[in-house]
């Protein structure tokens, strides 16, 4: 009798231990422990094979001194390609588009453009300084939080560069990469791939070209006016035709050491410390491939004749950026476009 109860108790004890054991295993491994471990492993790999005299550390704190990198341009100008190539660099993390950052920046722009609103905000004690520190705090939380940590954090939301000057005020040490592309290619891409962009009427090449012109002008002017030359315009065509040349210049501009990984971003997709892609973004199916020139001249023959005739007047930015508005297509290999310090 006693032995039976004893055995029953023993069996119960064993069963409950097994259950707890498996429960313990199945409850997700502590996320912080894992991410901290991943962080540590990744940081160790970082320093393992590098002969860096001053290894770039992951900063302890993020504030207005943080040297962020902002990548942008009119959508369909190679912004995603640029950011995935940067992501392939072991010291940089951009990550996907945040979507929320351009909305906050647009809201701030509308407040600051209305003189009446500025007066009201000032009267409320919400001065430029106060508002700036609030916007900065918001941006940092999103940029820092939405991907792996890295010594150089980067953000790619195409239209953020409409607020380039403001961002450079918020983050004086930030650098900006403005992707430029032949407007005809950009517009053809958004129309043929049906990429909805606020303000662009996808049924009209004419309207889209006018809107492209306006948008790229706003961004380009701010880029040229950036303090201390902190903005580098990069032509998409040059990036896909001469990737190594362009990336070398870019990394020098960003004060980053050269790493060949940036030329083979397709190998690092989904890897830790590599490239994270989003199912929602429309460029994802393109950037899983290595850098290629497929999309360069897809637009030729697709633009309506009447639009082609008025091209120079519809989109004056084309010639300002070095694209011949009457050539279908221009020779993208021309040396003029190689010059990345376009001061026109």
């Amino acid at each position: 009798m006693r032995k039976q109860t004893c055995n029953v108790l023993l069996v119960c004890g064993i069963i409950s231990s097994i259950t707890v054991f498996y429960l313990g295993l199945s409850t997700i491994e502590c996320p912080t422990a894992r991410s901290r471990a991943a962080q540590h492993r990744w940081a160790v790999n970082l320093h393992a094979g590098r002969n860096l005299s001053d290894p770039l550390q992951i900063p302890e704190e993020y504030n207005e001194e943080t040297p962020l990198i902002f990548v942008g341009g009119v959508p369909r100008s190679g912004t995603t390609l640029m950011r995935v190539m940067l992501d392939a660099h072991p010291l940089v993390r951009c990550g996907e588009e945040t979507r929320v950052i351009p909305r906050l920046l647009a809201m701030q722009a509308s407040w600051s453009h209305s003189a009446r609103e500025r007066i009201r905000l000032d009267e409320a004690g919400v001065t430029d300084e106060v508002l700036d520190s609030a916007v900065r705090a918001f941006l940092l939380e999103i940029i820092v939080g939405h991907g792996e940590p890295a010594p150089r954090l980067c953000n790619k939301d195409p239209f953020t560069l409409k607020s380039l000057s403001y961002l450079s005020k918020l983050f004086p040490k930030a650098k900006f990469v403005l992707m430029l592309r032949d407007g005809r290619a950009t517009v053809h891409s958004m129309i043929s791939r049906k990429v909805t962009i606020t303000g662009f009427d996808l049924t009209s090449y004419r309207d889209c070209l006018v809107k492209w012109n306006r948008a790229v002008e706003v961004m380009y002017d701010q880029c040229l006016a950036a303090a201390d030359g902190n903005c580098l315009p990069v032509h998409y065509e040059q990036l896909v035709l001469y990737p190594e040349q362009v990336m070398r210049k870019l990394l020098r501009f960003l004060d980053l050491p050269w790493d060949t990984a940036v030329l083979h971003h397709e190998k690092l997709i989904g890897k830790a410390g590599g490239v994270s892609l989003s199912k929602v973004e429309l460029s994802t199916d393109q950037v899983v491939k290595p850098v290629n020139t497929e999309a360069l001249s897809k637009w030729v023959g697709k633009i309506p004749a009447d639009v082609l005739n008025d091209m120079a007047s519809l989109a004056p930015m084309l010639s300002r950026l070095g694209y011949d508005p009457l050539a279908n297509p221009p020779n993208y290999r021309k040396p003029d476009l190689l010059s990345l310090n376009n001061t026109k």
């Binding site: 004890g13 409320a124 004690g125 106060v130 520190s133 939380e141 939080g145 939405h146």
Partner: protein, 362 residues
């Protein structure tokens, strides 16, 4: 035979026991949800060089209600307390909250955001950081920070979550008085058609219903309703209740906020806010029943159905006006001084009302 089985069983048991203990240990040291990457802390210094440190756990008060319900009076009286600082309406806080709400609704946008690695927790952290910077920096620091933007109380539940030690004061007022005030003073409020008493009363009822349900969801210990009528008729008792709710010591100054205007540690007013010309005066009864006789007859007839919240809040929709209560002698005295013309808007606070239309808020 039996002995070895038993020994084997005991051995197995101790083995599994050890495993259990180690896994339990791991589970216990794991804080569960990944903590935020860094806890934002804001350091502000006041004129005396005293340093104040604020973060999302700092106790905070949010004052709100439908506009024209005495929200500015309440925050001015609280501002007169040396330990409390509300300051002017920030205007930007309700807009950020509405933006945040849009990102949280169960729509494609939310899933798109999750796909991009922007989680709801991250949006909370970013919103909290933004709000904290504005609230902490747009006025002088004080032990108890307070914020008054009327429509924030539509997000009381959300605020109570991101600021775990926050409390809420919901100002209630007879909707007829609020609506008469916004129409007669031409205070633009999004969604309110100032040419129609009927429309404004309906909107008032909807708005206060939402805020009241948010207040109730937050709970009695963290959200308190204050009737404007009680505040102006019996300020002493009402403010005693409010300060007790806020765990702040009594201070006589809250009954004489008009003496602290423009003073350091006192009441800071905005020249562009439409209530400014009223709160420079002491607590008085001028605005209590001004609405009587101004509501169109047809609206008065349908009052109960147009604004069901009137009765729910304890205001008789058919009494013009209802009996709001008995005034304290202090308030009667104040009202007489005001009617005599003792309180004129100082020139430093005048002039802006002509530059821009009064009010203008969303």
């Amino acid at each position: 035979m039996r002995l070895s089985v038993k020994r084997a069983a005991v051995l197995l048991l101790t083995l599994f026991g050890a495993c259990t203990l180690t896994t339990l240990y791991q589970v216990l040291i794991c804080p569960g949800k990944a903590p935020r990457r860094y806890m934002r802390s804001i350091l502000v210094r006041n004129s005396n060089q005293t340093q104040y440190r604020y973060n999302q756990n700092t106790p905070m008060v949010f004052v709100g209600g439908v506009p024209r319900s005495g929200t500015t009076l309440m925050r001015a009286m609280l501002d007169a307390h040396p330990d409390i600082r509300c300051g002017e309406e920030t205007r930007v806080i309700p807009r950020i909250l509405s933006l945040r709400q849009g990102w949280g609704r169960q729509t494609e946008e939310r899933w798109a955001l999750e796909d991009e690695g922007v989680s709801q927790e991250m949006l909370d952290a970013a919103t909290t950081a933004f709000l904290l910077e504005i609230i902490a920096r747009h006025g002088e620091p004080a032990p108890l920070l307070c914020n008054k933007d009327p429509f924030t109380l539509k997000s009381a539940v959300y605020l109570s979550r991101i600021f775990p030690n926050s409390k809420f004061l919901l100002m209630l007022r007879d909707g007829r008085a609020s609506v008469h005030s916004m129409i007669s003073r031409r205070v633009t409020i999004t969604g309110f058609n100032l040419s129609s008493y009927r429309n404004c009363l309906t909107k008032w009822s909807n708005a206060i219903e939402v805020m009241l349900s948010q207040c109730m969801a937050v709970g009695q210990s963290r959200c308190m309703t204050v009737r404007y009528e009680d505040l102006v008729l019996q300020p002493r008792a009402t403010m005693q209740g409010v300060l007790h709710f806020l765990n702040s010591p009594w201070h006589e100054g809250v009954l004489h906020h008009e003496e602290a205007i423009g003073q350091p540690g006192g009441v800071s007013l905005s020249r562009t806010e439409c209530s400014t010309d009223q709160v420079i005066k002491p607590v008085n009864l001028e605005a209590l029943t001004r609405w009587v006789g101004h509501i169109p007859a047809d609206v008065q007839q349908d009052m109960e159905s147009i604004a069901p919240m009137l009765r729910r809040l304890g205001y008789n929709p058919n009494a013009n006006p209802p009996d709001y209560g008995q005034p304290d002698p202090e308030v009667i005295n104040n009202t007489q001084r005001v009617l005599r013309g003792d309180f004129k808007t100082p020139t430093s606070l005048k002039g802006w009302a002509q530059v821009s239309p009064k009010g203008g808020r969303n």
